[in-house]
Amino acid sequence: MVVDDRWRRLLPLLQKGDVVAQGEVYTIYFAYVFGALLVLARRQNSHAGAPLPDDDLKELVESLTSQAFASTFERIAEYDQAKSALPTALVWRGKALMRGIVGKAIREALRDQRSVHLDDPDLRPTWRWERQQETNGLTRSPEQELEHREQSRILRAKFEGVLERMQGSQASALIEVLASGKSISSVAEAMGKSSTATDSLLRRAVREFRRLWIELYGSEGEI
């Protein structure tokens, strides 16, 4: 799907915070961003056994789309057009926010579907849960937040170093897992390949990723 580049003309105005220009971006790209986020959210929901009805999912994605636009406009100074087209960045913001909005709704729907046992390990804070809270910024002080941002920036540079050296199809396959979820079938469907071919591609991709990471950074500690 080819997305037009009318956003380039509007970018200088967005950088000035102009509301009318923001409205133009909404008008031109809303359908694209909403459609892409709805498909990604459906894949996530489907991977979890589809606990959320599609109408609820659409409502969540509507809110998610608005937040993606608002968040991107708010932080437009950080946007780098050399890294991606603006519509792609808008979908990315939505995808990043999806973890909090759609992910939470799916978890709640799943919890409501089953009976609760007091010895359910999910009811107790686990090491993984605590790390997740930390990752989501729920338990960080301002200093920790700054440190986290800096660490994330360094880690992103490292990831980019590896991904840029990988074969395009392998790097794309890894990012497709990030976009569509960890189920081989949904990645295969998204990439238009068979499950066997996708499994094999991902195996080669993850091994190559590890090899390059060690070659560039000496150890696989951070992954």
């Binding site: 799907m1 997305v3 105005l13 102009d18 509301v19 009318v20 220009a21 923001q22 409205g23 133009e24 909404y26 008008t27 031109i28 809303f30 359908a31 909403f34 459609g35 986020l37 709805l38 498909v39 509507e62 789309t65 636009f69 968040s71 932080r75 437009i76 950080e78 946007y79 780098d80 890294k83 991606s84 087209a85 519509p87 792609t88 960045a89 979908v91 990315w92 995808k95 990043a96 994330s152 880690l155 992103r156 990831f159 980019e160 991904l163 840029e164 395009g168 794309s172 890894l174 990012i175 497709e176 990030l178 569509s180 960890k182 991902l202 993850v206 091994r207 590890r210 951070e222 992954i223």
Partner: protein
């Protein structure tokens, strides 16, 4: 994939997600994933998306004045009011009044507003739609029939809109539904004209 590869993949993806979670810029190759998702049919009609888009966009300009938004947009483009007026075939005084929120839209054809927005390079009403609707709701008030004819004279420094409202105050009741309808028709005329203008430029 064996278990070891699966664990490594899960770990890499978790770390990737965490590193990029707060970033405005997506990881490399994300565009391909988006393109594949965006080209899948969603089952949502164009009309439904249009409703969602309008709902979202109206939040953008909530509480903002149309004239002020237009002026800021023109200034962000570093365009002179006179240049825009000439290009749109508007009287500069009228344009200034519009930017100051003092122009009576009852005296301006919707198509002229479209011409102005087109001259500014805008493809749609977008963020201006809701603020314009708010103005139109005041300026295009439709009244249930008054019991008698109402006469009044022009007063200095009183706009035609204010004069009309003052004259009919306490005499006729505003028909909210008819007013909204009139505002929507006016806005639709602007949109339709803009669509035609862009279509004719492309052809």
């Amino acid at each position: 994939m064996d278990e070891k590869d699966e664990d490594l993949l899960a770990s890499v993806i978790d770390r990737l997600a965490s590193a990029y979670e707060d970033s405005i810029n997506p990881p490399p190759h994300f565009a391909e994933a988006v393109d594949s998702a965006a080209s899948e049919p969603t089952g949502v009609t164009k009309e439904q998306i249009e409703v969602l888009r309008r709902r979202s966009i109206s939040k953008l300009s909530e509480g903002k004045a149309a004239g002020n938004l237009l002026r800021m947009y023109r200034e962000a483009l570093t365009l002179d009011l006179e240049d825009v007026a000439r290009k749109a075939r508007w009287n500069p005084d009228d344009l200034e009044k519009l930017e100051q929120g003092q122009l009576d839209l009852q005296s301006v054809e919707a198509e002229r507003i479209a011409l102005l927005l087109f001259a500014l390079g805008l493809e749609s009403l977008g963020a201006l739609e809701q603020p314009l609707r708010e103005i139109l709701k005041l300026q295009m008030e439709r009244y249930e029939s008054a019991p008698t004819a109402v006469y009044g004279r022009t007063r200095r420094d009183v706009t035609s809109v204010q004069r009309r409202r003052d004259l009919l105050k306490g005499i006729a009741v505003v028909d909210q539904e008819a007013t909204l309808r009139a505002a929507d028709i006016y806005l639709r005329r602007i949109s339709d004209e803009m669509t035609d203008l862009w279509a004719s430029r492309k052809s």
